[in-house]
């Protein structure tokens, strides 16, 4: 057991656990941050997609010991604060398109979408960009996700 300090959604946190515990479990089981979901624990389904220092990553596949004290982790719960609003434009686009069905994958989908748009640096979102998103939605909301990303990107 050792102490691990980093920042989550703008707040400094310190947790005591083993170095090898993956960040997803630290967030969910120890810190009670439940927005990132477990869908595989294999860095495949992307349901836990969150941001580290503004870039998307999957906390299921990162040891807590590999997180630096200066690292800024943002989960879906902290996304609106990154734009100083009640909702991030991508979340609003998700509402406008009524994307969610069961909703389980949607926090990860939104976090992946925001990171995708940011990575484009203002260039338009292409069909190939959308085709390349790996996040699973077993309800099959993919078509509305594509529409929402186009809308959200226009307002980011």
């Amino acid at each position: 057991m050792s102490m691990h300090t980093f920042n989550v959604n703008g707040q400094k946190v310190t947790v005591e656990t083993d170095d090898d515990v993956r960040l997803l479990w630290v967030l969910r089981d120890l810190l009670g941050i439940h927005g990132p979901k477990y869908g595989c624990g294999l860095d495949v389904c992307k349901a836990c997609t969150s941001h580290i220092n503004g870039k998307s990553f999957n906390p299921c596949s990162v040891r807590v010991a590999d997180i630096k004290p200066t690292d800024q982790i943002t989960t879906i719960e902290g996304l609106p604060a990154t734009v100083g609003a009640d909702l991030h434009p991508m979340q609003q686009a998700w509402l406008d398109q009524d994307v969610a069905q069961c909703g389980y994958c949607q926090p990860g989908q939104i976090m992946a979408a925001v990171a995708l748009v940011k990575s484009k640096n203002g260039a338009p979102i292409t069909e190939a960009d959308l085709d390349g998103i790996r996040n699973i939605c077993r309800c099959g909301t993919y078509p509305r996700i594509r529409e929402a990303i186009r809308q959200g990107a226009a307002k980011m």
């Binding site: 656990t17 083993d18 090898d20 515990v21 993956r22 960040l23 997803l24 479990w25 969910r28 089981d29 120890l30 439940h34 927005g35 990132p36 979901k37 477990y38 869908g39 624990g41 294999l42 860095d43 495949v44 389904c45 992307k46 349901a47 997609t49 990553f57 999957n58 906390p59 299921c60 596949s61 040891r63 590999d66 879906i76 719960e77 909702l87 979340q91 509402l95 009524d98 994307v99 969610a100 069905q101 069961c102 909703g103 389980y104 949607q106 926090p107 939104i110 990171a115 085709d131 998103i133 790996r134 699973i136 077993r138 309800c139 099959g140 993919y142 078509p143 509305r144 996700i145 594509r146």
Partner: protein, 803 residues
Amino acid sequence: MATRSQQSRKHPAGPAMAPGTDNRPHDHGDIPDNGEAARDGFSRRRFLGYLLAAPTLVVAAELSLSSTRSNQADAAIPSAPGPSDLFDLGDLQNLAAAPTSGLISIQVNADGTASFALPRAEVGQGITTSIGMLIAEEMDLPLNKVIVTLADARPELLLNQLTGGSNSIRSMYTPVRVAAATARARLVATAAAKFGVDVSTLKVSGGVITTADGRTATYGSLAVAASSSVVITLPVQLKPQSRFTLVGTSQNRVDALAAVTGKKVFTMDLVVPNALPTMVCRPPSINGTVKSVANIAAVELMPGVTDVVIVSTGVAVRAATFGQCIDAVDALEVTWGAGSEDAQSDATVLAEIRAAQIPLVVPPLNLLAKTVDGDFTFYFRSNSPLETNCAIADVRATSAEIWSSLKSPISAQAAIAQKLGLPQTSVKCHVTTGGGSFGRHLFWDAAIEAAEISQKLKKPVKLMWHRTDDFRHGRTHPLATSRIRATYLAGNVVTFEQRHTSVSTDFSHGLGEAITSVAAQLPVAGNLSFSETVFELTANVPYNFGVTTQLLSEVDMGFHTGSTRNIYSPDVCTSTELMVDKIAKTAGQDPYQFRRAFLKDARSIAVLDKVAQVGNWGRTMPAGTAQGIAFHSEYKGVSACLVEIDCTPATVNRKIRDAFTGPRVTKVVFAVDVGFALNPKGIEAQMLGGIMDGIAQTLTSSLHFKNGIPLEGSWDNYYYTRQWNVPPTIQVIVMPTTTGNPGGAGEFGVAASMAAVATAYGRATGTMPTSFPINHNSPLGFTPLPLEPPLPLEPTNGLTSGN
């Protein structure tokens, strides 16, 4: 292995199925059933609502009320309607509930909201939104003032708490409205008394009652005054559909904000004191048993681990985090006994199914008749949602409390009580919101396992299945074959025989027991198994194809089965529709025009015409690409789908890492007529999901069983539709109201889209596909995760792997 090979026949002209015969049950009680005739201005049907004794206004209605009417097909030419045309699975579910009615109740609160505990499960299908709309409509209350939660298991409802068969709206439509209308009537009467005016002078809008001279009272302000200290019955009339202002319009989901902010609470997000993460170490083949464990004490000393215990499904570990559970599971040294299906792989299962097939019997009628045969295979498909099997259990000496997404909570409660040796009334089952279902939550595999572990440990547990286990030990849609023989003579299809043979589907989720109470009232031959009854009530051939028979036979094996979003229909429909294309080709006719000529009624032709027109059927397509078209009817609804597919080498061979790409569906046009769409936007969402399933089932997704266990262990192995498979263009058309009665929608999108993708693939490649998904027998596209240790290592490269 026992082979069960019973058969049932759809008599083409049995007396119980003669056109014009309404053999449906009538509503019990003395209320005349003229159903939704009211919307047309006929005499309005009166229902009895109840005021319950409570400190605030609580109204109730019998859950068994039904407004469904006979919905006969207009069979004008050869084929008589099959049983499912007259009386389908949803009717059975409605009927099964009737003798065991219970009350559902709506409470009006002092803050002006109305709350309702829905005895159904929300698993993403949007039922809480649709039910909320019905209550808001009937009460004249804004939708955001209706709070719909999920009811705990209510044994007094007996069988009427099952979410399945796309039946929720069909069974809840009338009872919910009666309860809401009762609330409105009572509130209006209370306001009339308060203001000393006649009820007829009051106007209601947005939960506010206004007198002719402008005085107002909110529902909230009347909630206590409107309450009753005794139970009172109150005759009420329902608002006619012609006056609906909310129901029938597109509404966004009531839980959307929670979903996009991460605040939607799923089972594993619940905080139950001391319920620590728990996982199970499972055998290397299904139904394997624990012989011995060499190192329980050592594993108990691992970081974070609190407990290790042998249970009936493996070895359970409880720890501070799920990560530490995974480490402990992999550290266990277990000697396993054999599994039940260790000798079984896809090929051996298929061989057993083939041996059980019922022969096709129709001989060529004469030398001029053309016989068209088809033989189709459908491999195992996982019904795993994104949220794996999970449950929380807190079992004490004399009671137990369970939290899980349960679509049949009463049956779950009974099974868990039996397992624990407790009275059913001592087991409280909370129904949580599910992260998808696709058939999986009809069963309580995680709940009963969590209960057993909690009882053995005498501690609360938060049990979650690992993704790999969910694919390998979770339930699967059964492997099946479908054989069809049709004869074509002088411009007509004169016979159409279908023989569907399947690994048996597990229907032990409660509905099965309901059938015994109503068996005598079913319009199908007696002594059928429950599977056969379901088959009879869901399968149909929608075309006038002369003498039509559809038979099911099943083979009992030890696989963990369950239906995957729709029961037999997608496979039955895909086989049928491929054969329709083949017969049309034999007849030298266009697939669309051929279907149009043989479909049984105007509703069916309307959806087919719609997709043909909107999708520009028959347009010239480049080589290697093609259109396909298909039709499906079920759940008192009709649907048609047109797709365009690209099977050119450049597309089929496109590379995306760790992905199956293959043919790409480039366009989908889907038209659906559910009779009356309560929320067209919600219907569209369900169709979109069904289309994604249909694409997956035809092109990409299946389980490969080898030596008693599937090779698939992750979403990069089990090829459910991903963004790279999604059609760039999709249009869903929700048809205007036809019957006025809402049909089922949750599963309805799968069959026609699966079939349309198959027909398009056949036309693009020039070869009719006969084995599904089409990639199943290609070389495996992934390296299977190892069977031991049972769980794959958690990656550590998440900061460098990129997304």
